[in-house]
Amino acid sequence: MSAQTMIELVGVRKSFGKLEVLKDITLGVAKGSVVALIGPSGSGKSTLLRSINLLTVPDQGFIRVGEQALDFTGGHRLPGDRELAAFRARTGMVFQNFNLFPHMSVEENVMSGPVTVLRMPKAEARLLAHGLLAKVGLADKAAAQPDKLSGGQRQRVAIARALAMKPEVMLFDEATSALDPELVGEVLAVIRSLAAEGMTMLLVTHEMAFARDVADRVVFMRDGCVVEEGPARQMIEAPSQPATRAFLSHFHNGLGPS
């Protein structure tokens, strides 16, 4: 694949016990593009996302993010703690349940990555945090505790925290699934602005209209395999595989303009 491919997966396999969750996945994400990963629950899309920053370590396969690559094909030793941490520091991840650190204020959450991992001086990290909080529309919440925020605000803090590491790619694992419907829009708006800035992103999502409008490409997974992938609008509106059509038929009444 070309140097313009930011994320590259080749032959990635993962099993939990006897259950094979990822069956030989090969996937590329072009630099600056947005790829939506859709599929029924249990299809392996979250596991795939987590294997890109090695929160789940694959059993087999090759993974490259930017300049960093790790090979898990037979005989290669598992990466150590230092290697894993360095690899993960270059990717940002946003989780379904936000996972903010409850014992830290909002700005401390955003500062935690740069201060702890990059050894950035606190004053500099605070400036960075305030800039990012302003960017996600939460400049006035810097001193708040996470438990005083709404779900949508928490998720925006989580996005700011991930961005503070100046990642090359952002991974979103069902970032709006735990939110009340009226709070989804503010989080999607932040993701949309990141897309406009040219951030490379891979999103696991159930927001089909959002996938159609914001993603460049859509990947449909089922049973640990990539069934079909293609340009977003074509994939959502006119998929070629029966399995994709069957899955998307559950969403069609919700596919208005987002």
């Binding site: 230092r82 650190f101 702890t116 925290r161």
Partner: protein, 219 residues
């Protein structure tokens, strides 16, 4: 029965009593600190994926949790030297025993506190690129610690009470000094009442403190 209470005579033994209090508090504080250190190592070993370390630590913990401290004290002081050929002074034997006994409970409290932290917190710290020790120090332990403090204080209270068993090895703790005073004064009633009151005065604020912490945690 008409008993003439007279606590006045105890004043002449205040030096002995003072030494007893110092030994009781000293052994408590010392073995709580050493027990926490060893307990931390036990917890981390059990949380690691090292099977052998986990098995060994689990074995040690069960031995200390499932035998009485008094038996452990006597065994370490009288039986261990026969096995190893190393004579231990009563204080050293007592210190080792109480450390390991405390550690076996502290270790389980610490481990429980750590595993009670949501898995999402581990994910979030790892995703930022934190090393294992950074994740522990910055994210997991600060959250786990808040949950550990009340049970750790309770265990420290038990640890202080257990120091009274040191008297069987003639370590001059509070109870042992009471026995000395009784044998000299023939007044067990006043002496042991005073000993009990001293334990109470030390421990009551500590248990209140643990209660208050627990109440605050449940909010």
């Amino acid at each position: 029965m008409q008993y003439q209470w007279d606590f006045g005579f105890l004043l002449q033994y205040k030096g002995l009593i003072g030494v007893g209090i110092l030994y009781t508090l000293g052994f408590t504080i010392g073995t709580v600190v050493s027990g926490l250190v060893v307990g931390c190592m036990i917890a981390l070993a059990r949380l690691s994926n090292m099977r052998i370390a986990t098995a060994v630590m689990t074995g040690i913990i069960e031995i200390f949790r499932c035998t009485p401290v008094l038996v452990q004290l006597v065994w370490v002081y009288y039986a261990l030297p026969i096995l190893t050929g190393i004579e231990l002074s009563p204080s050293v034997a007592a210190f080792i025993t109480l450390t390991l006994y405390g550690a076996s409970f502290f270790g389980e409290i610490i481990r429980g506190g750590i595993i009670s932290v949501d898995m999402g917190q581990w994910d979030a710290g790892r995703a930022l690129g934190m090393r294992r020790h950074q994740l522990m120090g910055q994210v997991i332990l600060p959250q786990a610690f808040r949950r550990m403090v009340p049970p750790l204080v309770n265990q420290a209270v038990l640890q202080l009470k257990n120091t009274s068993l040191l008297s069987v090895l003639a370590v001059p703790d509070l109870l042992y000094q009471g026995q000395l005073i009784t044998s000299a004064s023939y007044r067990p009633l006043e002496t042991y009442t005073m000993i009990a009151v001293i334990y109470f005065i030390i421990l009551f604020p500590l248990t209140r403190f643990a209660h208050r912490l627990e109440a605050r945690m449940s909010h």
